[in-house]
Symmetry: C2
Subunit: 335 residues, 2 copies
């Protein structure tokens, strides 16, 4: 099968063997999405070698007989989906696969298992391929109303939903999101669904308009000067070190700063400011898939406006180049 791989410092599309299923589910990938993490891996920042990609929608090709034990050891989602997961089912998949034995896995949350593998990121071949394998417990059925082009956003949308697990957001919480890239646009839209007033801060008029069409207030970075100390929660989704300083300026004392993007390298922070203003800084990475699928099913979030271009998997290297260009948002790959 074809797979987009990063190996020995080189990104290339290779012909490799189909995954051996050994107790997991084999999924035929219908569509995969290129994430900034993929670009970081291809720059050699993450130490991963193999097939990249972790955003996908696919169809179950086969399910191994180890199904029951896989589910028992990884109860990452409620079991309501068990009956639906058979051959031919359209699915998306949570990307962390825990060891199944540590305290975190046993508590039902393998996202932080120290021995976890992560699809296309840590110790497990990823989604930019014709087939992938994942534990059956990681898979969720996709409702018929959600097209492949929207379902492929489930993973990044779940990451945006993860903010709601980590920060207290009520209908009167004043929230700002810094960064008008695809992550920031998803975060702002997810937070807007709670009824809280959200302001998206960015640099690109065209991108900010996507949020404006959903009734979200927007402003440019220059305009933040007049809004200092005004927000209860600020989400840093720009991936830029200056975003952290802007976030501190915007926060009311006692406010919450959500770090959403994984910067690489060290970041300088004004620690005295965090102490004196008693700020809470919250790291937020992955979220659960169920709330994201619910938002997609209700049509509560516009993800299709975030699609910049689609390539065939065979053209994966060029797709990655396009995805890394300024202003480009989501690039999709079709095997």
């Amino acid at each position: 099968m074809k797979a987009l791989r990063y190996e020995n410092g080189t990104l290339h599309v290779a012909e490799i063997a189909k995954p051996v299923v050994d107790g997991e589910a084999l999924v035929r990938v219908m569509l995969s999405g290129i994430c900034n993490t993929d670009l970081e891996i291809a720059r050699g920042y993450a130490g991963f070698q193999g097939t990249i990609g972790h955003e996908f929608v696919g169809v179950i090709e086969s399910v191994s007989e180890a199904r029951a034990s896989a589910r028992a050891s990884q109860p990452s989602e409620p079991s309501l989906t068990v009956g639906l997961l058979t051959q031919g089912q359209r699915v998306v998949g949570e990307i962390n696969a825990g060891c199944g034995a540590c305290d975190l896995c046993l508590a039902g949350d393998p996202r932080h298992c120290a021995k976890r593998t992560v699809l296309g990121i840590v110790g497990r071949d990823g989604a930019h391929a014709e087939f992938l394998k994942l534990p059956l417990a990681n898979l969720l059925p996709v409702p018929d109303q959600i097209s492949d082009e929207r379902a492929v956003f489930t993973e990044p949308l779940a990451a945006a939903c993860g903010i709601l697990e980590r920060a207290p957001i009520a209908t009167d919480t004043r929230v700002a999101v810094i960064g008008d890239g695809k992550l920031g646009l998803l975060c702002a839209q997810v937070i807007a669904t709670t009824g809280a007033p959200v302001t998206l801060i960015g640099k690109h008029k065209g991108k900010l308009q996507i949020a404006e069409r959903r009734g979200i207030e927007t402003m440019t970075v220059d305009e933040t000067e007049a809004r200092k100390r005004e927000f209860d929660v600020v989400v840093e989704a720009s991936g830029s070190p200056s975003g952290f300083a802007t976030a501190l300026d915007l926060l009311h004392p006692g406010g919450v700063l959500v770090l959403k993007s994984t910067f690489h390298g060290a970041m300088e922070i004004d620690a005295a400011r965090v102490v004196v203003d008693e700020i809470t800084v919250v790291g937020s990475r992955c979220g659960r898939f169920a709330p994201a699928l619910e938002l997609l099913e209700k049509g509560a979030v516009d993800v299709q406006s975030l699609i910049s271009e689609e390539f065939t998997l065979a053209d994966g290297v060029r797709a990655m180049q396009v995805a890394s260009e300024p202003g480009v948002m989501k690039v999709l790959l079709r095997p």
Copy 2:
């Protein structure tokens, strides 16, 4: 009156006029304590000019007739103390005096008022003097059982108690405190009163022994290697940038890092680690005085072992030099 002042880049003991009371309370200082913040101010880091010092115990010398309005505008403590605050009463005092009009002050917490003055730190002469003035609402009576030498620790002990306002600590929460200086020793003791298992991490055997005598586990920085990812809450009270890195190493995924000391200047953090492990970083500065007085009244915390030396106020400059020497803990000044 005598006062220890930092002015035009020089620390000196000066003869100045007694404070004019204008609607506040005049307090005769019995004993004051030198804090690391005083040392920072005397190094010119904080931009403050005037009488330094914010840790004190004193006696009310006079109360102006504006008493009722002062209390109404600054309800920072419950009103049970009103009847006791008359001339001759022994008191300690909260150091933040709010504007009385902004949303934070009206909500009863002037600690973050943007226009606040802070005793000996921002816009208000401090406690290393024969007399100071503060709004009556800032003062709390000191129970007779608490000696002056222990009451003078109320402010730093309240700061340690502030951790419990900011981090979730239950009897099964595994807590580490980094830093065996006076702040770290107070933090470890306060957390131990909750019943949670606490480990104090430091470099100085003699200081660690103060905690050990209170039944607190201690370890050296070298020993932390074997305890990585083991703690739910880590309190950084060392004031050293390396303390932050050690804290991240010790934290379990999803853990809480409490930043307790006000570093000056920028600090480098591994932001990706905060995101990937979904760490919460919590800044903590001042705490309320009532819980601190309660701990002192019960004898639940050993503060007297933290006293290194006492000087007369006239000898204040030398006292500050001694306080800045390595290994020295609390230095007291007696007017």
